[in-house]
């Protein structure tokens, strides 16, 4: 397998983007990524799109976007791994280069979620499990799936609603420093605690918003990358795993086993360990998800996630900076865009281009943790500044 680097990054503004259709939204990121890589788009040999689909009018978004952006006769596909579709797209583009099939590839993530009304969006997400046994008769929602984990975690480890609110406050703070984030305002613990209950004990401010957005990365083989840029960001390892579709088949509801398995694989491939990571994007679709991610990724012992956020250890300047872009929680979570957006953020951090939200980089290693569904899929990617 050849070494592969991220050599170009692009990222749209996240939020309610009723000013653009899905192709126009994707184009914003594609153009930036190509300009950042300083290549001609004809050099891109294949295009992989991560998008869950179903929220917007196009059934074949990959070809719609390729046509709009002027990619002709390229190999292409859309990949789906729910909320981890973006990471799955990057993995596909990565494997194409690593295997020697292509020298330069493009991975795009996009979702246009606000073309349907909010409760239809709730419905589409609620169906993302084992449909007949969880939705048809019981009307599960995405917050409800994570609430099952929150109740168990709180009961076993003493995690509180206030701890969850602290995660939200941190996310909104960093989003206020990120001009591309959906939310631009800070919130208080009181505001989070007093917000509407969505699926008890989770409240509105425990949940990521429904967002539109896109992100894109250009990948290149080592020899090509070194000629293109002085700051290639190397993909050192991608670990992936999955878990049961039906949540009733899980164990104790204290963490996501898919995260445990995929992170161990990623650390092994990258020959690194949690203690070496300077900065991470963790999949915080809900506040409880970020606390479980700390534990499942090995950033702390099981049950100690709340302690980490109480002590500020996951803020910039703490033990490890987590979600300095505002995370899914406040930057927004346009489903298929998220994994690629995380790659863009970690690339910016490792290049020292994150501005006001730049984390200290000591070892030059960053982590992307991208979960699909309720731990149904998980992709963990280790990125580094040097090989």
């Amino acid at each position: 397998m050849r070494n592969v680097a991220i050599v170009g990054i692009g990222h749209s503004r996240f939020g309610k983007r009723s000013d653009v259709n899905v192709a126009e939204l994707a184009f914003e990121s594609i153009k930036q990524a190509i300009e950042d890589a300083k290549i001609d788009k004809k050099q891109i040999q294949n295009v992989t799109l991560g998008s869950a689909g179903g929220w917007y009018e196009e059934s074949l978004p990959a070809v719609i976007i390729n046509e709009y952006a002027g990619f002709e006769n390229v190999g292409t596909m859309r990949v789906e791994a729910a909320c981890a579709s973006g990471s799955a797209a990057v993995r596909s583009a990565y494997l194409s280069v690593a295997s020697g099939e292509a020298d330069i590839t493009l991975a795009i993530g996009v979702e246009k979620m606000t073309e349907v009304d909010t409760l239809t969006s709730v419905e589409l997400m609620g169906r993302a499990g084992s449909y007949l046994w969880e939705f048809e008769n019981y009307g599960m929602t995405f917050p409800a799936y994570y609430a099952l984990y929150a109740v168990s975690h709180m009961n076993k480890f003493g995690t509180t609603e206030e701890d969850l609110a602290r995660v939200a406050v941190k996310a909104h703070h960093y989003a206020s420093l990120n001009p591309l984030a959906h939310f631009q305002k800070e919130i208080t613990i009181e505001k989070a605690l007093n917000s509407q209950v969505v699926a008890w004990p989770l409240k509105l401010y425990d949940a990521c918003p429904i967002s539109d957005g896109s992100a894109a990365v250009v990948l290149a083989s080592e020899d090509v990358a070194r000629k293109m840029t002085d700051t290639p960001i190397w993909i050192r390892g991608i670990g992936l795993s999955s878990d049961s579709a039906n949540l009733s088949k899980r164990g104790e509801y204290l963490g996501l086993e898919a995260t445990v398995q995929s992170s161990r694989r990623a650390y092994s491939l990258a020959r690194t360990s949690p203690g070496d990571i300077d900065v991470a994007t963790c999949h915080d679709c809900f506040t409880i998800a970020e606390l479980m991610a700390y534990e499942d990724l090995g950033l702390c012992e099981k049950g100690q996630g709340a302690k980490l956020v109480r002590e500020g250890q996951t803020e910039i300047g703490g033990k490890i900076a987590v979600n300095p872009d505002g995370g899914l929680k406040a930057k927004g979570h346009p489903i298929g865009a998220t994994g690629v957006s995380m790659m863009v953020e970690i690339s910016k951090q490792l290049r020292h281009e994150a501005g006001k939200r730049q984390a200290p980089i000591k070892n030059g290693i960053g982590l992307v943790h991208n979960v699909g569904g309720t731990g149904h899929y998980c992709y963990v990617t280790v990125l580094s500044r040097s090989l």
Binding site: S18, D19, E57, D117, L119, T120, V122, E123, G126, S130, Y131, L132, W133, E134, F135, E136, N137, Y138, G139, M140, T141, P143, A144, A147, L148, Y149, A150, V151, S152, N155, Q196, V197, V198, A199, W200, P201, L202, N246, L247, S248, K249, R250, E252, Y253
Partner: protein
């Protein structure tokens, strides 16, 4: 933003899926009669819930139907306050996962208690029901 910035599509799409249940029709028939049963592999003995005709352990398709049992312990739960479009006329509902005394976990609505009255570890009973529309389903009832 002016209305001219978006074009509400005039073509609506209503999807209703016909889900095949021929391989597990015994489950639905029994449920309609008030009984809860599930599949057990006749080759390796694996008990599955939800029921499935093909064994995920040994991949044999030979199976028998056994009683699922009704005694359960509450593992975790939530109260769904914001309900999806197709449940929009429902009051908020409590969903729990119960661990059956001698079998697998089941996810279902929990009745007979408010969310404040529930704790993980509570004893539950699994009961068959038929909805006003005539669809069989099952719920947990707090003992």
């Amino acid at each position: 933003m002016s209305n001219e910035d978006s074009l509400p599509s005039r073509r609506t799409l209503s999807l209703r899926f016909n889900i095949a249940i021929s391989k597990t029709k015994e489950f639905w028939a029994a449920l309609r009669e008030g009984k809860l049963i599930t599949t057990k592999c006749t080759s390796c003995g694996k008990v599955t819930f939800p029921p499935q005709a093909d064994c995920p352990n040994c991949m044999s398709s030979g199976h028998e139907w056994i009683d699922l049992g009704t005694d359960a312990v509450l593992v975790t739960f939530t109260n769904v306050q914001i309900t999806p479009t197709s449940f929009v006329n429902h009051d908020p509902y409590i969903v729990g996962i119960g661990r059956l005394a001698d079998g697998p976990n089941v996810l279902a609505w929990v009745e007979g208690a408010t969310v404040e009255q529930l704790r993980p570890g509570d004893r539950l009973r699994l009961e068959a029901r038929v909805s006003p529309e005539g669809n069989p389903y099952y719920v947990f009832v707090k003992n």
